[in-house]
Amino acid sequence: MRSARSAPTVRALEDISLNIAPGDRLGLIGANGAGKSTLLRVMAGIYEPDTGSVAVSGMIMPLLELGLGFDGDLTGWENIRLRGMYLGIKPTYFERFAPDIAAFSELGEYLDLPVRTYSSGMMMRLSLGIATALSPDILLMDEWMMAGDAAFMQKAHDRLAGFVEKTNILVLASHSEPIIREWCNKALLLNAGHVMAFGPVDEVLGVYKELFEGTE
């Protein structure tokens, strides 16, 4: 029998201290496993730090994984309502957003079908539609939202841009330089759970390149 105590302890993040102010669009960069997604989850209150504190003020919208949180047996409409509830919005209130989500996702009558019949592109449209229908104060995104099929992406891009503009704070995890350059005005470089650099995008990307080339 595997002893529970023998599991190794992983220190995912250490010594992180930063202040994000309204208007900041922060890009989290770093290699896989550097702690980007973990930091997003700490900010979202999903993980709680062992030591230290996280002070947040405002409504947070975490958009971490695509497709997760959909119930395949429920219809598109029901999933819209369900997702809203998980985000803390009463179904009656969320009804107001439903037409907008339906229009954006272009799913039409498919919204009456179970989500398991959807293609991944349709699921993504629905996901994006729900996410961007609200206007949270703080938006936490993993980079999946920026990747997708080209036809829809132009429309998605416009909507995302408008959406990001409305939020006070954006934190975006990505290891793609163009995405960080496009969406962010600040960047934070993580390596093995430590902050390597924090500041303007150019500066931090410079450090990132050095670090990256150094290990090659």
Binding site: A4, E48, M85, Y86, L87, I89
Partner: protein, 276 residues
């Protein structure tokens, strides 16, 4: 915007786990619409596509009672009019108790995908499971009505004792569920253990039998916590006295159980997310 889960949290440097647990409880209570709506959703979802829908909850139980009631009355050589109502209430209450405990085993593991997407009060997830089972239990009301009419049971003020009884049962199930949910999230071997213990419990608990009818020693019943919970609901409906021993036991369990569950919750709340 007045909706949404607004965080205005400030956590001390070395977070105080008791305070965090308490704010989890407060938040869970504030979001009662959230877990109650999800519980309703679960009930409807379970019977999606079926013609009778949640009425199946009522029907399967009715079939079980109508089938086994007369059989056991004969096996035990008992009077049907006395035995069948007793057995029907025993079976339905037992289903409520075991259903809640069994489903609590998966309370956290089954919502792991959502827990990793958004911050959810841990207790809200448990309340959803308990409330879902309360809804399922209430589906038995038509059965009770049929039994009341068919066996001409007395209707009177004594039925009101059912209300505190039901509340005590639900509160007991909530602490039990919380402990089970946390332990099952941490140690995956516990779920099958609990399921098999509850299966044996069905026969060891006076669900189908009665210490009066079958001359079982009373102390065996008095020691059984589940017997106490069943009596709290069954006795008022049948117009019986609740044995003082069983009542004391259930209140004692309520206090001790909640203290134990609270201690466990304070200790483990933060880690649940890493276990699921």
């Amino acid at each position: 915007m007045e909706t949404g889960r607004v965080h205005n949290s400030k956590v001390a440097d070395k977070p105080n786990q008791s305070a965090q647990a308490l704010s989890d409880l407060k938040e869970a209570l504030r979001f009662s619409w959230f877990w109650s709506a999800l519980a309703w959703n679960d009930i409807l979802h379970r019977y999606r596509g079926s013609m009778l829908g949640p009425l199946w909850i009522t029907l399967t139980t009715a079939v079980f009672i109508a089938g086994l009631g007369p059989l056991y009355a004969r096996l035990f050589n008992l009077n049907m009019t006395e035995y069948l109502p007793f057995m029907a209430l025993g079976v339905t209450t037992w289903q409520f108790i075991t259903g809640t405990i069994n489903e609590s085993c998966g309370a956290y593991t089954d919502s792991s995908h959502m827990m990793r997407q958004v911050r959810l009060p841990r207790l809200a997830i448990l309340f959803r499971v308990v409330f879902r089972n309360m809804i399922a239990f209430i589906h038995n009301v038509p059965i009770y009505i049929v039994i009341f009419i068919a066996f001409d049971l007395p209707v009177g003020w004594h039925l009101l004792e059912l209300i505190p009884g039901f509340v005590i049962v639900c509160l007991n199930l909530t602490w039990l569920g919380l402990i089970v949910a946390i332990l099952c999230a941490r140690f995956r071997d516990i779920t099958p253990i609990i399921i098999s213990v509850l299966q044996i419990g069905f026969f060891l608990t006076p669900v189908m039998w009665n210490y009066k009818m079958q001359r079982v020693d009373l102390w065996i019943v008095q020691l059984n916590r589940f017997a106490a919970l069943i009596e709290l609901i069954r006795a008022p409906i049948l117009g019986d006295e609740i044995l003082p021993g069983l009542l004391t036991m259930s209140l004692f369990c309520l206090v001790v159980g909640w203290l134990a569950a609270a201690a466990l919750f304070v200790r483990c709340r933060r880690q649940i997310i890493y276990w699921v």
